[in-house]
């Protein structure tokens, strides 16, 4: 009996020792696991910081040589090693603005259609189809733009704009140009098609977060659908809608391939939207592998740095605006 119980005690002690040893092992394994995933998290942080720093480093020669003048010079002379960023900056901003002018109202219309107007059987397929647009690689947009859209712009749209808007005061200069088809306006339109799915899907999602109670109260007071959307839905989701617009703007600013195809790669500052131009991303894509001097390559990397800083700010604003709505949701 006594021998028996001591055997039991011994095996229990062994089990306890075993268990505590396992605890130690588990704790160590947990520690390692935690360390691994935290390191991966830090890597994401490092990737972003590294991107910024590496471009600042790569562009140091250009920034050092040209100083602030780099931002305001229109010169782009590979032979004499004189580089200025104004033409690509101008092209990037103008094409992105044209894109937003078209894409924002259209995206709003699509979101309105998909949340309030369309019969429910139509909503799923249409929103899926619009989102497919977002999945098409940008090089396909570029090819379509170059081979299909550019001829149409050159043959019909540009002459029409020349004839009808070309001699208007003030804006006339914007719409006077040779019927090339390539140029800022074409690039802006292609960009608009590309960012519409991004903006409209954000708008659609946030429109769906508006409490039904609010909308129904307005309907009960006799509002029309449009009045409910304009006076209830839009004010409620305002910050997120702006966030979605900025998200689209960030995309439009950084889009490379589609713009490279249809913008014309011309380092010239012109008032007309129908003239070929250049954008930051297109300049880098076109010229990087041909850059034959240190300062040339450095200038291109410096351009990349400028693009990164601008898109970072735009996207950060977008994120903050989008977050505001979800926080508002959370406090209810």
């Amino acid at each position: 009996m006594a021998a028996n119980s001591s055997a039991i005690t011994a095996s229990m002690t062994a089990a306890v020792v075993d268990a505590s040893r396992r605890d130690v092992r588990d704790a160590r394994a947990d520690g390692i696991f935690r360390w691994i995933v935290a390191a991966a998290g830090m890597l994401v942080l490092a990737a972003l910081v590294g991107t910024a720093l590496s471009m600042l480093w790569g562009g140091r020669e250009a920034f050092g040589t040209f100083g602030f003048g780099f931002l305001f010079s229109t010169e782009w002379d590979a032979v004499n090693h004189k580089f200025g960023a104004l033409v690509p900056i101008y092209g990037t901003i103008v094409t992105a603005l044209i894109a937003m002018l078209i894409a924002v109202p259209v995206s709003f219309g699509i979101a309105l259609f998909l949340t309030e107007v369309a019969p429910s059987w139509l909503r799923g397929p249409v929103s899926a189809a619009i989102e497919l647009l977002a999945g098409i690689p940008s090089i396909i947009y570029g090819m379509w733009g170059l081979f299909v859209f550019v001829p149409i712009m050159g043959e019909y749209v540009t002459p029409w704009l020349n004839d009808h808007l070309g001699h208007w005061p003030l804006i006339g200069a914007l719409f006077t140009g040779p019927p090339l088809g390539i140029g800022m306006l074409t690039a802006g339109i292609v960009l608009a098609i590309m960012v519409i799915p991004f903006i409209s899907s954000v708008m659609r999602e946030v429109f769906l977060t508006v409490p039904t109670r609010l909308k129904e109260s307005a309907y009960a007071l006799g509002s029309t659908t449009w009045e409910v959307v304009w006076d209830i839905v839009l004010p409620y989701t305002r910050s997120a809608v702006i966030g979605g617009v900025f998200l689209g703007l960030g995309r439009a600013l950084g889009e490379t391939m589609a713009v490279t195809f249809v913008l014309g790669n011309a380092h010239r500052l012109s008032a007309s939207l129908l003239e070929p131009g250049n954008s930051i991303a297109a300049t880098i894509a076109n010229e990087f592998t041909e850059a034959d001097s240190e300062i040339y390559r450095s200038s291109l990397i410096a351009l990349g740095f400028l693009l990164f800083v601008v898109t970072f700010i735009v996207l950060a604003v977008a994120k903050l605006m989008l977050r505001r709505l979800s926080r508002q949701e959370g406090t209810k």
Binding site: A38, V44, G58, L133, M143, T225, L247
Partner: protein, 286 residues
């Protein structure tokens, strides 16, 4: 009085009807471009399809050839990017969802990851150029794969983070209360539950990188010949399409259309597949 009210009411209905019709037109406008672009790609692409496309090398201007080396290069670099990017992305997503949920560091990483997700890809190419290509002195398939991995990571981080947050915390607590260590809970309970979502994220990332052109232009460059050396410049579908589409030679342009068709079909299939996985999973959860 009632005439005024009547007129006001009529104006409001007209405004309403006008705007609702306009919204329908906007949707039609969006679909119009989709149909037009796909139709163009399919029409030119199918016309340019030919038997040698997948077996012959990219030709010099004027002669016949295929896209075999470009397809192979894209395949190798994409697989390498997924293999590099997925573990890092999943681990970082796990950190965000399981270890840093309400902490400032977690919020910061999540915020920056979202920015990385929409950051211009050409900028990521410049990063890898300064980090890998410039020090090593030559363009390489590895540099291309690393650039693509930089695009894969934020997508996978985002989906992993979201999917893990959807796993009910009762499941975590039940597993932990059995005395299972946390790493085992994560690997064997949480990942299993979040698997369809994570797989969807990987598929979406693959769809994104298979059409990615800009950053490959100055990391992997291009290669006219068959090469399986990841330390040498490597051809890829998008870069070849770009080069051939911009060329004045008709045979090259037709190859570019064929390539564009192949890439588009692949990307569309991927996005439909990932949608189907998500949908099936949602149905089984309900």
């Amino acid at each position: 009085m009632s005439a005024v009210a009547d007129r006001l009411y009529r104006r409001r209905s007209v405004v309403n009807a006008f705007n609702l019709v306009a919204s329908g037109l906007c949707a039609a406008f969006g679909l119009f471009w989709l149909v037009w672009i796909l139709w163009t790609t399919f029409r030119h692409g199918i016309a340019a399809m030919k038997p040698g496309l997948f077996t012959q090398m990219t030709p010099p201007p004027g002669s016949e050839g295929g896209l075999a080396n470009a397809l192979f290069g894209s395949l190798v670099m994409s697989v390498a990017a997924i293999v590099i990017g997925t573990p890092i992305g999943v681990a970082a997503g796990t950190y965000l969802a399981e270890f840093a949920k309400k902490k400032a560091i977690g919020e910061t990483i999540r915020f920056l990851n979202d920015i990385l997700l929409s950051a211009p890809s050409i900028v990521l190419g410049l990063f890898i150029y300064t980090l890998v290509v410039a020090p090593s002195g030559h363009f390489s398939g590895w540099a291309g794969a690393l650039t693509l991995a930089m695009i894969v990571i934020p997508v996978v981080v985002r989906t992993t983070d979201e999917m893990l947050q959807l796993v009910p915390s009762t499941m975590r607590e039940a597993a932990l209360s059995l005395g299972i260590p946390q790493w085992k809970v994560t690997l064997q309970v949480l990942y299993r539950s979040a698997l369809p979502g994570i797989v969807t994220g990987i598929l979406l990332a693959l769809a994104r990188i298979s059409g990615e052109t800009a950053p490959l232009l100055f990391t992997a460059l291009n290669n006219q010949y068959w090469s399986h050396d990841m330390n040498a410049p490597m051809a890829s579908m998008p870069v070849v399409i770009f080069q051939y589409a911009m060329s004045p030679y008709e045979s090259w342009q037709s190859l570019a259309w064929a390539g564009a068709f192949v890439v588009t079909v692949f990307v569309l299939l991927l996005s439909i597949l990932s949608r189907a996985i998500l949908l099936r999973n949602k149905v089984s959860h309900d």
